[in-house]
Subunit: 356 residues, 2 copies
DNA sequence: GTTAGCACTCATTATTGTGGAGTGCTAATA
DNA sequence: TATTAGCACTCCACAATAATGAGTGCTAAC
């Protein structure tokens, strides 16, 4: 059996209706809903075929049909193709998007000193806008290069190391010391560190570290070792993935997700964040879908989200750092809106971050 | 009518039983549960009295009794008094606590570089340990005094200001500049800032700021203004309250809280965090209850927690910074355990933070 | 003052019944 | 041959009803 054009139209109608209502949709509804003038009986026949083909299913004998994962997949793929063709040329929608982003910027510009807050806010705004749960990761770099280090006295027994990496990633680290150190010693140490370490990646540093220590042996060897260790440690942790989530409670808006067990599991994964790393897409098939991935039901990499759909987007900043935005909702989520929103956000984010 | 000793014992028995089971408790249960040898009929009479006195209530005519807020209050107050007397002298319990804290330290020592992570972890461990939702605030200072400022070049058009306050609170701020600045200029600026600002609170600073600017007028006035503004701004934000929560999904373990609406509201407040500021206790009645507050039902300052009980503890670090830990659970929470745990945590926290 | 006994109440659970939405099938129609 | 009208059938959802049982209040006896 073939999936001819009429079947496709009926299938889309079923899915669209189900996205709106969340209720199984019957033949009579379709017969009136669509512009193809067909009686409910005909629709019924077609729907029986669609069921045989695996696109829809009926939850029980005398109910309407709901889409299967396969059905959603077809629908989403089709939509993504259209999106690609259109390239958002439809005026009304573009205007809408613009406005949306504008209002988003307004909300974001409130008080965003730190990247952290901005990302948290993006998650929040996105959640409010879409009525789904959202997540966003901090931008990641590949090889963190050291730009400079700055040591200063904090107390008699403590040093403050300010570590700046390429891309102006800044970290502070308090180092406890035993040796008493003069102001001059500190100055020397600063110079030594910066001349020998700047521009190095973490890997190169471990090697450079040993050499430096050999050359400089004698005074304050223990101290230097401590300081180097602290720096290396800090850099290693600097690019650890931070994940921000928001709108977890939005899932209660969808009855199919809000029974106690499912909700609890879902919210737990969102709160715990750990397993969300599974969503950061390794390779983004940039070409076909502009860094946007749609996972439907079982396709998602996270077990607790088998009853959800997840849409992720990869954003990329001008300096090459990449991050992931994710939207988690019911399988009957408004894919069109979500994909559209993510498309614009992912391109706007760079500008937002630059502005801070 | 009086609340004689027998009534009190029965009341306690009712509450204890209800804490365990969460079910209304009947006269027969009490008759067997307690060591006072009384028939169910007698208990019934007493319970009728207790109801009249407002300590217990029956959800419907032929059900057992459950404690009212007033009942809980009596129970908790009584317990707190006992605690105060005992001063945790019971060996078994103390040993338990020790072990608990020990295992907590183990979990915490894993990888805690930053205070932020430590606090987040405390919340997490506490939630896991108690099976309730938890929150913890960052330690707060009253008047933030500046220790020193350190400016360095980040890019041609950006300065990095490292701002260190008393108590070694460290903040970074990137400042965008228009003027081109020589290395010497920067050095001068650093000296100027540190000689005129060190040891000042935020309030004093605004005044000092103006004077400094007047004295130094001429070169780079705009720049100085920008830098000062950035510093003031940073300090102002430095002591903004950060709140960490964990274990929100624990509430699903208690049927009386896990219906969709209540759960959603509760988790939302925990996720949003904003309104949790209502829990940071202004004045802690240190004397009577060692900085521990118990809010039962309507007593809690937060609307969405009317069906919960909240126990808060104030912790204080050696350098005088204070913070709040809170535990949010059902009204039938295990007050004894919670209070005990908080008592030990709040004293241990200082040590944990020092260790980092 | 305490207790045994009994009638009564009312939430909970199971049982049954009914209405309606929606289907599949068949026969008639274009 | 494709479409449609008609009808019997299925099964969920919901309401009404009945059965169960835990627990009470009250009274009378101890």
């Amino acid at each position: 059996m073939e999936l001819d054009d009429r079947k496709l139209r009926i299938l889309k109608a079923v899915i669209q209706n189900y996205l709106e209502t969340g209720e199984p949709v019957g033949s009579r509804t379709i017969s009136k809903y669509t512009d193809l003038k067909l009686s409910s009986a005909t629709i019924r026949n077609e729907m029986a075929d669609l069921e045989e083909l695996g696109y829809i299913i009926q939850p029980h004998t005398s109910a309407g049909r709901i889409p299967t994962d396969k059905g959603y997949r077809l629908y989403v793929d089709d939509m993504m193709n259209q999106k690609a063709e259109e390239l958002s040329t439809r005026e009304a929608e573009v205007a809408d998007r613009e406005k949306e982003v504008e209002s988003m910027k307004d909300m974001l510009s409130e008080k965003v000193d730190r990247v952290e807050e901005l990302l948290q806010n993006v998650a929040k705004v996105l959640a409010k806008d879409t009525n789904y749960a959202t997540m966003i990761t901090s931008p990641q770099v590949k090889g963190n290069k050291l730009k400079f280090v700055q040591l200063s006295f904090l107390d008699e027994d403590k040093l403050l190391a300010v570590i700046v990496m390429e891309g102006n990633l800044i970290r502070n680290k308090v180092i406890r010391i035993q040796d008493t150190l003069s102001q001059e010693d500190l100055l020397k140490l600063n110079i030594l560190l910066n001349t020998s370490l700047n521009g190095l990646t973490l890997e190169q540093m471990s090697i450079a570290m040993v050499k430096t220590m050999e050359n400089q042996a004698g005074e304050h060897v223990g101290l230097i070792k401590d300081v180097l260790e602290a720096i290396v440690d800090t850099i290693r942790n600097a690019d650890d993935l931070k994940i921000y989530t928001s709108g977890a409670t939005n899932i209660f808006k969808y009855p199919e997700l809000s029974d106690s067990n499912k909700a609890s599991e879902l919210i737990y994964t969102l709160e715990e964040k750990q397993s969300l790393t599974g969503l950061v897409s390794e390779e983004s098939d940039e070409a076909s879908n502009q860094g946007i991935q749609v996972y439907i039901g079982n396709e998602t990499p996270i077990d607790t989200m088998k009853d959800c759909s997840v849409v992720t987007a990869t954003y990329e900043l001008q300096d090459g750092m990449k991050g992931t935005i994710g939207i988690i909702g019911p399988k009957r989520m408004d894919y069109e809106k979500v994909v559209g929103t993510l498309q614009t956000i992912r391109t706007q984010l760079d500008g937002m971050l630059k502005k801070t």
